[in-house]
Symmetry: D2
Subunit: 338 residues, 4 copies
């Protein structure tokens, strides 16, 4: 729990929360650490501007319903569930027209309201989804970030399409796994570290490019008859990679931008976007709840295996070690178990 306006967090005894009238109390089994959690833990500028301690951190979870509110209709005690990190309003234009992922009144669990890094988590049913029984909690808790990758990969045609994934952090790695599971064509992947490129290879990327050492543009052009790939999934947020994304896509292709750049990016709109007839998408969150249903089916069928991305599993009490791993970059996803 984030208790003070300072770096770090504390493990505290707190009263068990009460389920909302239209929600449930969940006994948490596994959680995973998001980059956002690390920002909050580190107390960086963004966190200082947004988070008002005390707040229970965390928004990636799997657990079991142990109590339900009086008006809860879709959950019952014993249900094995996970949930969406965006607590959306349900009433705005976006929520009412299938764009809840850009709800203008979104609150994020563990940032704006209490989250799931705790023994018990009180959550409205609108934020909950039933897990497939065959998917263990340590995998199920990662569905929120996995959903980012599913959303990005499936934001346009992907079956049989060639794909470049720029940035092999956890979401980039998830994206590679998703592409493999849904019959994408050749997958190119780039990153700055050998550690992550090794993971990319394990997940089935066909061609790996180490940033600065390898020329991914040359590699892509060579394999695609000079055209470029059908789809670019930009997961790094590096301005130079965003520029590259526009060049890597073939005329008529798609660029899905998910990695958040920290400054403005200068683009050759004429040559790289207009004359090529590109479609460029800002990708945030997950389609509520199309992404979740698709993801659940992919996991349940065994087609989508993301276990190599779960590189570290620690007891919940060792959350500080988990945060240290996040800082090091020498990890995929870090899961904490209760």
């Amino acid at each position: 729990m984030k208790t003070a306006v300072a770096p770090g967090a504390q493990l505290l005894d707190v009263p068990t929360p009460i389920p909302p009238r239209d929600g449930a109390l969940v006994k948490i089994k596994s959680v995973s650490i998001c980059g956002t959690d690390f920002h909050v833990y580190s107390w960086d500028a963004w966190a200082q501007g947004r988070v008002k301690p005390p707040v229970t951190m965390g928004h990636e979870w799997a657990g079991e319903v142990v109590k339900v509110g009086p008006e809860c209709q879709s959950l019952k005690v014993g249900d094995y569930v996970s949930g969406e990190s965006h607590k959306v309003c349900g009433h705005c234009l976006q929520c009412r027209t299938g764009q809840g992922h850009v709800c203008q009144n979104t609150k994020i669990f563990g940032v704006d309201v209490n989250g799931c890094f705790a023994e018990y988590f009180a959550v409205p049913e609108a934020s909950v989804i039933h897990n497939a029984p065959r998917v263990p909690p340590e995998i199920a808790c990662m569905q929120d970030p996995l959903g980012n990758a599913v959303h990005a990969a499936l934001a346009g045609d992907i079956i049989g399409k060639s794909v470049a994934v720029l940035g092999c952090g956890p979401i980039g790695l998830f994206a590679i796994a998703v592409c493999r599971a849904v019959g994408a064509g050749p997958v190119f992947a780039s990153d700055t570290t050998e550690y992550r490129l090794d993971l990319a290879r394990a997940l089935g990327a066909d061609t790996l490019a180490r940033v600065t050492d390898d020329d991914i543009e040359q590699m892509v052009k060579g394999t695609t008859g000079g055209q470029g790939v059908d789809v670019v999934l930009e997961m790094s947020g590096a301005p130079v990679a965003i520029q590259q994304a526009m060049r890597l896509a073939r005329p008529g292709g798609r660029v899905s931008l998910m990695g958040i750049p920290s400054r403005a990016v200068s683009l050759d709109i004429a040559e790289d976007v207009i004359f090529k007839g590109l479609t460029v998408q800002g990708i945030v969150g997950r389609r509520l709840y199309d992404t979740w249903y698709t993801m659940k089916a992919l996991l349940a069928s065994g087609k989508l295996d993301v276990s190599p991305i779960l590189t570290h599993k620690l007891p919940f009490e060792e959350f500080r070690a988990g945060m240290d791993l996040m800082r090091s970059g020498q990890c995929g996803k870090v899961v904490l178990t209760l």
Copy 2:
């Protein structure tokens, strides 16, 4: 070659055809036998009304370009190619708006104009597609019917969707393989024969229903919480299966009809189509050429393995034995090699 207005066909020495100005001469390596070829060979009522012998039969092929016409732009000698069975006009509303598969001036190779059951085949470049090098001719020649299955399966959302495939003839079997390759959810398959259900199992169908013995509606409802499947691919053409297709689909689902019924079908439009908000699609041919590019990528990546459906491979001269196999129904696809 179909030479007479009678059942059967003859293997004859004929002059090598001349490539069209905007096309090529292809040396055929493998062909496969379509149900349509069997109709022509058997000289049934449909064939008698449509085919004007003499005509070289066949429209499923793979081969190598050995000569090109003076205005041919996209092919060169040595290219490894296959092609679309529908020779479309290119000028009608449908051809000009991405619906060439329902071109109103379509001619079919091997039916309306000379086809590919021959040593050499003259074909316009507009009907040709380059094969992936790693796909052998005996598989590449089956892409026309495989394309029917790709078209049907991908005619709406399929990733993560539950699917029922009704009818496990070659195209139904192809459809099962495609669903597996692109990350569909659970796949249910029905047929009347054990032989074909065994093939369906080998290709990865999760649940098999033998028609009359098993109640597929019960099976589907049991697995899908009473909802029905997201997608039904009707490949049998049996009127009773078409009726069943409408009941098997969940509210908001999709029914793609490809199997051709021989008589009118009575449907409960109110309950089974309107109140369920179904989408029902007539599927014919292949998207020109989106289907072909997607199929090529799926085959090239190794994700789509249709080799179990190639149950019989014969020398070209033994085409009569191939036709006998077609009559027996104890086969998947029958390929003839030159």
Copy 3:
């Protein structure tokens, strides 16, 4: 109010309902009579099987919020609102994936739960939409059935498309007005009565066909170069019209079925659906809430003028005269004002 298990209805003094926690109490200004209301009033077989009196009838309304529940977030006193007739669950697969119009737990206001034929109406905010100020209550109350027409017309490409509207009851007439407002191509309309064809003409239909007297198939083929129309909107429910719909659509076209047939319909699936590559859609309800936002914008801009369809406006007390008009068929929409 429907008070007894018998034909008819009564106007009674009842306690003012209490707004739901997450809803509002609305003072009704105008309501319109749906065919469903007439079924309930007439107490036909369907109504006898479904409706449990006493129930306040009606589900097409416009009014003003006069009180809100303690958890209501999107409404405030004074808001000028209308609402959706389908009270959907919000939790099922369909509700969570943009298909709330086929929610499997739908209740209909005025049928399954109390409706709006009353001075005050208690309604959850999830069922309410804000009206455009310039649209008067007598028009705003018709948005639920108008939404059926918007949903049907916009269920596929419509801009620049030729359209046949079969059946010129209120929803067919609305559909003609919508087609005109959104730049459809030529609109053909058919009905059995001169009264309704006159309304169709007033709304801008280009070609009128009186059923049995005129041959709409011939008219359509003559105008479309033998092709058929791009889009058929079947609004009559007559089995013969549903069969005709399939023949009227061009190869690659769309048939949207909204009129409910009272018995099974025999279709030539091979010729009329599969070989033509048709898309046939069951249309029910309205997209929640895409249809409502689009409709609101069309009404607010003045592009969509449905006032000719409002043929009769009566004081609320004269609801029996309104029901008599419904029985006669000599009306468009009948509106009751309070």
Copy 4:
């Protein structure tokens, strides 16, 4: 005709061209001057790098077929036709998958090959479309640039959507007319000149913003509840307008970029694209031939009236006066008649 590597052009007697085998000879009735023609005429840097005189200029035309080639299938003498300015290859990935507007082998009539500023124009049938009889040549010749606007406006949902059109040159003006014809919601328009804003008003724009004087962002936010518009059509090419386009779109909205900036543009990708979940499209050319069919229907129905944009009509011989008008910016479209 462009005869020399210098500014200007000459009217010369040349031999009547021969129709291609698969094309026609057209007697030109009207042409219109594109900005591209003005670049060629002015002999700017772009023209010097691309055009190889002598070349007959021009690619916006309407005329009558007077002769057909021996293999031409879709045209006959007397046909009233116009055509697409992009001569596409028909064989590349893009051409074969419905993206011919970004064909990688495109040649432009009047730039790379002989064009239509002549008495007779030889053109392949693949580039020709039949005109609606009720549309006069002086309007029909403008369909190529009108098609840009149709393509841009219809590149996503537009019915009932609020729209901002940035830049009221001819294509921006066309876009306003298209939005009005297809039932868009409120239309905001911006430009630097009063002359063009007056035209925008005449075409039905609801709100006008004079660049630098008026704050369009404030106007849009005020009218849309702070959200921004659903759709931005960027037609100016000004870098500052491209940046503004991203801010003007609401979360979940669409930005279609058509105006060509002359230098790189710096964008706040994080705030303006990713967190808003925007779709940004590069728009070039016209969908072949979906755009043309839709445009034809809109013109034929009389719904789309672009005559106010035709501000100047001159005899063909006065082409120099037309070019002067282009230079002045005090014009909509300039048409030359033969």
